[in-house]
């Protein structure tokens, strides 16, 4: 039997990798992919807890997270398309109109 804490450590590692990608990458598409990575880490944690605590609510929550992730990806990529139309760049450090 694999202990529950192994799953939690795995989930934390993947989440931290997602945080690193989110804060450090230059390409806005990679930033959105890092968000997906973080959401997947949360899902691993939720499903592992659901299995070990013998409670289905974790899986329901993971189900909702997947639905919200799909909505978030659609909106995020629509924003990227709108950005390309106005700036023709994918690099977040080129977008600095609001720095004043």
């Amino acid at each position: 039997m694999v202990p529950l804490s192994w799953y939690m450590v795995l989930s934390m590692i993947v989440f931290s990798i997602g945080v690193f990608g989110f804060l450090s990458r230059k390409n806005i598409i990679l930033i959105l992919m890092s968000i997906e990575l973080m959401l997947n880490a949360v899902n691993i944690n939720l499903i592992a807890l659901s299995h070990y605590l013998q409670d289905m609510r974790g899986q329901i929550l993971a189900f909702f997270v997947i639905a919200v992730a799909a909505a978030e990806a659609a909106i995020g990529l629509a924003i990227i398309i709108a950005l390309f139309r106005n700036k023709a760049t994918a690099h977040v450090d080129d977008i600095k109109e609001m720095q004043g």
């Binding site: 993947v14 690193f20 450090s24 070990y52 909702f64 799909a70």
Partner: protein
């Protein structure tokens, strides 16, 4: 022992693949590694007796979200992408922050206390099958959140169309 090996393979593969996703220079390579990553995560879900979510993971993430990403990646100028740097100027700060977060949360893991186990034992789920149990709870106890999620998806579809369509003249 075989279970630990199975988990070990998947944990190693998921960690390496997520590192590959965020460190590739070419965004198309990132999407390709992410496809493999999602299949491994689905395998881990199967290991946790969540068959329905494993299938949903493959259908929604690998079949839906990654295709969306691929469309967006094809808008990027790949040649420019390969010559420009991967990280922003404050990239080291991001790495430090992520590492600090990992250390702090790992230290807090020791004080984790599990809740008392619920009623959905493995025997019950095996008797009724995972999808039946999940559907029963989803449509009774979680009916209202389920409807809210459908509203979120509707708003997201309308919002995506409004954001992505060309501005009408006049």
């Amino acid at each position: 022992m075989i279970q630990q090996l199975y988990f070990g393979y998947f944990a190693f593969a998921i960690t390496v693949l997520s590192l590959l996703v965020i460190t590739r220079k070419n965004p198309i390579h990132s999407v390709a590694w992410m496809l493999l990553l999602f299949f491994h995560i689905a395998g881990l879900y199967l290991f946790l007796n969540a068959e329905f979510l494993a299938v949903v993971q493959i259908i929604v993430y690998a079949g839906g979200i990654l295709v969306l990403f691929l469309f967006a990646v094809l808008l990027v100028n790949i040649k420019e992408e390969l010559t420009a740097g991967k990280y922003i100027g404050a990239g080291a700060t991001g790495f430090t922050f992520a590492l600090a977060l990992l250390v702090v949360v790992l230290m807090s893991l020791r004080s984790f206390v599990a809740a008392p186990p619920g009623i959905y034992t493995i025997d019950l789920i095996q008797q009724e099958t995972n999808t039946v149990v999940l559907g029963k709870i989803l449509y009774t106890e979680f009916l209202y959140p389920f409807e809210v999620v459908s509203l979120i998806l509707l708003v997201a579809i309308v919002g995506a169309i409004v954001l992505a369509k060309r501005r009408l003249k006049g």
